[in-house]
């Protein structure tokens, strides 16, 4: 046969390979096909195509591998076991930018499933190759490399440390300053994943000056970028006081408060998480946030949002109120208590209700004014119901009980205490009676009201062991009233009167 015919055979083969690899790549884009492809043995067929002479086939084969490994961790393990990774890492250093993007995609798809797979990726020496890719000129390659790095560092502190030791963090900070939005997003998310594990890693990120660049991007109009930036800042700030102070010194407030009105829900949630992590540490940081108007902004955020995203806001108010009574008064003055009461009413999830109960406890436990502010919002019956409800989780019951007890120990606002007399179990009742016994001896109008509202009658009906604390308090209350009134309201008084009729001798 002639030369042309021989070459035609090779051309046909190449066309067949190209068509095969492109079809497999398209099929792999749909998740329902992966099982069929896996059973057909696609891994072993794609592997030699990675070494193909034609660059397009190599790239498409890498892309197909990446898509397959993305959906399924069995396939990702097969990629690792098939010794494909070293080949990819080698090509990552050598080949052109399309292949680099595809290879970085495969690494990311493998590393995302579990820490063991990510460790396997690191063991192949992928980190050095990825660092070299981060220094590339093309922003698409940088984005793919940064994404792979963020998926590796996500799993645990050890992998993050390995990533940091490879010298990735300064390059990521450079990537953040690039003009492409997608690259900024991925670099911010990589920094967030690195810094979240331990204080040393957060310090490493801070040392490269990442905070200033992240703070500059706060007012960028792109919503997904803002999500990542705030997530990164909150992961950094949560570890220690120094780092939180550095974040605050970057002058992100009050600009960050504007983002609390962003239409994107997760941006708002991440801003609130950042504020919560800052206020958690010391009273001074909380004071800074309060002075800048953060508490009012967060309370408005609680009013605008629904569901799980309210949790960071509620916890932030609790943390602020914990530090000192002035800060708790600041929360009350900013109309925090009615908003928290609405949250307690509306939310169905137990952990959110537990957080709200805890926040109430922190606000009301300082002085009688604080307790009165909480009591006036009609919170006690709700807390009592949460404590007594058998369907509440244990954590919720414990927190509701603690909150009730700590507020009751300071509460002198009697109209709110009265409903509790009727429904409370004995351990709560003890505190209620104790408060009554403290307030009633000094206030005559309150005594009168106590009698007319039936509280004295209820107190007489309480069965208490003689010598216990409750009995002492009841005695103290009874001592505030003349004996006839006490006898009148004691149970069984009508029977004793009737018995007197039996023994009475008319004249």
């Amino acid at each position: 046969m002639s030369q042309r015919q021989i070459l035609q055979v090779f051309e046909q083969y190449q066309k067949a390979r190209t068509q095969f690899v492109q079809t497999v790549a398209d099929l792999a884009a749909r998740p329902q096909n992966t099982e069929t492809l896996q059973n057909a043995g696609v891994m072993s067929l794609l592997r030699p195509l990675l070494l193909d002479a034609v660059p397009t086939i190599q790239q498409t084969a890498a892309l197909a591998l990446g898509r397959l490994a993305n959906y399924n961790d069995d396939l990702a393990e097969a990629v690792v076991k098939g010794d494909i990774l070293p080949q990819l890492v080698y090509s990552l250093a050598e080949q052109n930018r399309f292949y680099k993007k595809a290879a970085a995609f495969v690494l990311r798809a493998v590393a995302k499933h579990s820490p063991e797979l990510a460790q396997a990726v690191v063991d192949c020496g992928a980190l050095d190759a990825l660092v070299i890719s981060l220094e590339e000129f093309d922003p698409g390659v940088k984005e793919a490399a940064a994404w792979a790095i963020s998926y590796i560092a996500r799993h645990n502190a050890q992998l993050s440390q390995a990533v940091v030791d490879a010298g990735v963090v300064p390059l990521l900070v450079l990537c953040i300053q690039e003009p492409e939005i997608a690259l900024k997003r991925v670099a911010a998310s990589a920094l967030s994943d690195i810094a979240k594990h331990s204080p040393e890693l957060a310090q490493t990120v801070v040392d490269t000056g990442a905070i200033a660049h992240l703070a500059q991007m706060i007012l960028n109009p792109d919503a997904k970028l803002k999500r990542q930036v705030f997530s990164a800042l909150s992961q950094i700030a949560k570890h220690s006081v120094d780092v939180a102070e550095m974040v605050v010194e970057a002058e992100i407030f009050p600009a960050a408060l504007v983002c609390l009105k962003d239409p994107d829900e997760y941006v708002r949630k991440n801003v609130t998480t950042l504020i919560r992590e800052i206020t958690k540490h010391t009273p001074e940081l909380s004071q800074i946030i309060v002075n800048v108007g953060g508490v009012a902004a967060v309370i408005d955020y609680l009013g605008d949002s629904k569901g799980n995203v309210r949790l960071p806001g509620i916890m932030m108010l609790g943390y602020v109120a914990t530090h000192s009574e002035n800060l708790a008064m600041a929360v009350i003055v900013s109309k925090g208590v009615p908003q928290l009461a609405i949250c307690l009413e509306e939310e169905q999830e137990d952990h959110i209700k537990a957080a709200t109960a805890w926040a109430f406890g922190q606000i009301g436990r300082h002085t009688p004014e604080h307790a009165k502010a909480v009591a006036v919002a009609n919170v006690f019956p709700k807390l009592l119901n949460l404590y007594l409800d058998t369907e509440s989780s244990e954590d919720l019951q414990v927190k509701a009980k603690k909150a009730l007890k700590s507020i009751l120990q300071k509460c002198t606002y009697l109209p709110a205490l009265e409903p509790l007399l009727y429904e409370a179990p004995s351990n709560i009742l003890k505190h209620v009676i104790c408060q009554f016994s403290k307030v009633l001896p000094h206030d005559s109008k309150a005594r009168r009201l106590f009698v007319t509202s039936g509280g004295l009658k209820k107190v007489q009906e309480i069965k208490a062991e003689p010598g216990s604390a409750i009995q002492e308090y009841i005695n103290a209350i009874n001592n505030c009233y003349p004996e006839e009134i006490v006898r009148y309201y004691s149970p069984g008084y009508s029977e004793t009167l009737l018995e007197r009729i039996d023994t009475y001798q008319p004249m």
Partner: protein
């Protein structure tokens, strides 16, 4: 010896007598001396006791006085402390009240500012979406420009049953159609000087192909106008859509006008005497056997005694060897 002894005895008795006399005195003196000495001793002892008692009482008085003093100092300190605290508490309360008041004002400002920012952002987004929608509608109107209503025929969006035309109609009127390059503005004034005398090419118009006018039948001016007329592709025709029907109508009337003879000319003169109706339409309402059961006339009386027509015959062996007469050796496959 005896005398000395007696003298001695006498001396002794003298001494004794003298001593007897002095005994009382001396005894009394001794007693006095002793009592005086004892007195001094006791006095000294008593004064010692006194001194000790005084010092004990001094110490004791000092202790109690100091304890009392300490107590007084404590109470005084406590009172001053409480006064101080009260004053400070008043100050703190005042400053706290001022702080909280400032905080509420600040919160109000912040809330108002945030509301404004949110409002601005919302308005901005609304404006952008509205602009996008406007743009899309304009593009759509540009594509549907041919649906603009004309004097002859009202368009789809300009229904005569409505009081006002639809907004799409108004948009169609406003919008310029696609791919229209703007006609040169000088088309309005009719005095276009021909470029024959002007050898410099005019930038806005194309240069003439020939120096002399094109074709012998039209004037040069007209040819120039036609030559430089810009391309105006549009489906908007100048003649009306029903021009064809109207032309036909016009032709018909023209023919009618010129026609002299109104009688139609027929080519054949004989007429059929009667009209033979169709068999299927002029029979009673039952099914006609002709057409379904048989297709030809049957004259059973003619067929009496005759044998039926054979339709199957013995084969003739004309075509048995067709294709098999010659061998296929030597044929080209």
């Amino acid at each position: 010896n005896m005398a000395t002894l007696e003298k001695l005895y006498k001396q002794v008795e003298n001494i004794k007598a003298i001593a007897e006399e002095n005994r009382q005195k001396e005894n009394e003196a001794a007693v006095r001396i002793q009592s005086w000495f004892r007195g001094c001793q006791v006095r000294a002892y008593v004064s010692l006791l006194h001194k000790n008692a005084t010092s004990i009482q001094k110490i004791w008085h000092g202790l109690t006085a100091r304890a009392l003093f300490r107590q007084r100092v404590k109470t005084a300190y406590f009172i001053t402390k409480m006064n101080f605290y009260n004053k400070m508490a008043v100050k703190v309360n005042i400053s706290l009240a001022r702080y909280l008041e400032g905080l509420t004002r600040k919160n109000k400002h912040i809330r108002r500012d945030l509301e404004e920012v949110a409002e601005l952002q919302w308005k901005e987004r609304e404006r952008i979406t509205l602009e996008k929608q406007e743009k899309e509608k304009n593009i759509q109107a540009q594509r549907l420009h041919f649906l603009l209503s004309t004097k002859q025929c009202l368009g789809v969006f300009n229904s005569p049953f409505r009081a006002e035309p639809d907004e799409t109609e108004l948009r169609l009127r406003k919008v310029r159609p696609l791919l229209v390059r703007s006609a040169p503005k000088e088309r309005k004034n009719p005095n276009i000087t021909p470029d024959l005398n002007n050898l410099m090419p005019n930038r806005e118009r194309l240069p003439p192909i020939h120096k002399k006018p094109q074709g012998p039948f039209r004037p040069a001016l007209e040819v120039q106008q036609q030559r430089h007329r810009p391309l105006e592709p549009s489906l908007h025709v100048i003649s009306s859509i029903t021009a064809l029907e109207e032309a036909r109508e016009e032709l018909k009337w023209q023919e009618w006008r010129t026609r002299i003879i109104d009688q139609t000319y027929v080519t054949h003169t004989h007429k059929r005497s009667h009209y033979e109706g169709l068999m299927h339409t002029s029979t009673p309402f039952e099914q006609v056997a002709y057409g379904t059961k048989h297709f030809r006339e049957e004259h059973k009386e003619y067929l009496k005694g005759k044998k039926p027509f054979k339709t199957v015959f013995t084969t003739c062996h004309v075509f048995d060897k067709f294709g098999r007469l010659y061998s296929s050796a030597g044929n080209i496959v």
